[in-house]
């Protein structure tokens, strides 16, 4: 039974993720791309007279079903089949986290950082509210995210997606090394 609860190694998770690209095309000419759902929510809730949100979002409603599935996948993978052990990240990273007082490595998210009361702290506000805003703003500006550019775009050998993915990583690496440590110390 243990095998159900153990985390998947990269060589299992990666190929399953990659398979969704041809599968969505085979099922109905759909292209993987999750940041589009954020645009759809805007189009449904508050399109105003903004050109970006005045489009036939109903044609893309399959994507809302897809992300509802991703949410259910999170319940299955993160609760029903949750790994009972602390996450198996590298010792170097654990030491780094400990230096900021992050000691609870159970689950997939650091509960010491991501919890409701910490929304009212500067650190929590920056990490969740500002962080989320940057994710939504940046992915729409780039017209794609890790799934649309990083997985689908690169699978389709689209060079603009290579530029995008390189910049995702440049942004993330610079931020993690030079700015995040200051935020974690707050």
């Amino acid at each position: 039974m243990n095998i159900l609860f153990s985390p998947w190694p990269w060589y299992i998770a990666g190929p399953v993720i990659g398979l969704t690209v041809p599968l969505l095309l085979l099922l109905g000419n759909k292209t993987l791309g999750i940041s589009s759902t954020l645009r759809q929510v805007c189009a449904i809730c508050a399109p105003g007279s903004i050109p970006l949100f005045n489009y036939n979002w109903k044609k893309d409603s399959w994507n809302l079903f897809f992300v509802f599935g991703v949410f259910i996948g999170g319940i299955i993978g993160g609760i029903l089949l949750a790994n009972p052990d602390p996450i198996g990240i590298s010792e170097t990273t654990i030491t780094y986290f400990n230096s900021f007082g992050i000691n609870d490595l159970s689950g997939l998210m650091p509960k010491e950082l991501f919890n409701w009361p910490s929304l009212l702290t500067i650190r929590g506000f920056l990490m969740m509210v500002v962080g989320g805003f940057l994710v939504g703003f940046g992915t729409r500006y780039a017209r794609g995210c890790t799934s649309g550019h990083g997985i689908l775009g690169l699978s389709a050998l689209q060079w603009p997606s290579l530029v995008a993915t390189a910049c995702f990583f440049i942004g993330g690496i610079l931020f993690s090394h030079f700015i995040l440590p200051y935020i974690l110390s707050l």
Partner: protein
Amino acid sequence: MKNIKYLIVGVVFGIALTKGEAISWYRIQEMFRFESFHMFGIFMTAIPVGAIGLLLIRELKIKTIEGEDIIKPEKKYHHGIIIGSLIFGFGWALTGACPGPLYAQIGAGSSVTIVTLISAVAGTWTYGRFQKYLPD
């Protein structure tokens, strides 16, 4: 109910993201700090598998289950790709999540990620509102 099949693919995708720990803030930090191969391994296997799938579809002229020709996915370049991607990279480092993992994190029990998701919608809306003033 023709959309149920996409929900099922989403469930599989979500389980793979979650059990592969790609939705974990810990794993994302570890990746950006180059302290493990795990996340790079996921990308380096997902992309070739997707690429081989697309190649087979094209070479064998496979059609959709409803008999339509399969489109060739294309991504056009605009300078916003560079600016937007860097901004997203900052957000990815902060939240440990790209848009897909946001949904999976909520499912996996991080209820406060709902706030992050709402904030991401607000970010997308703000981009749309000010798009005309921003360099493309």
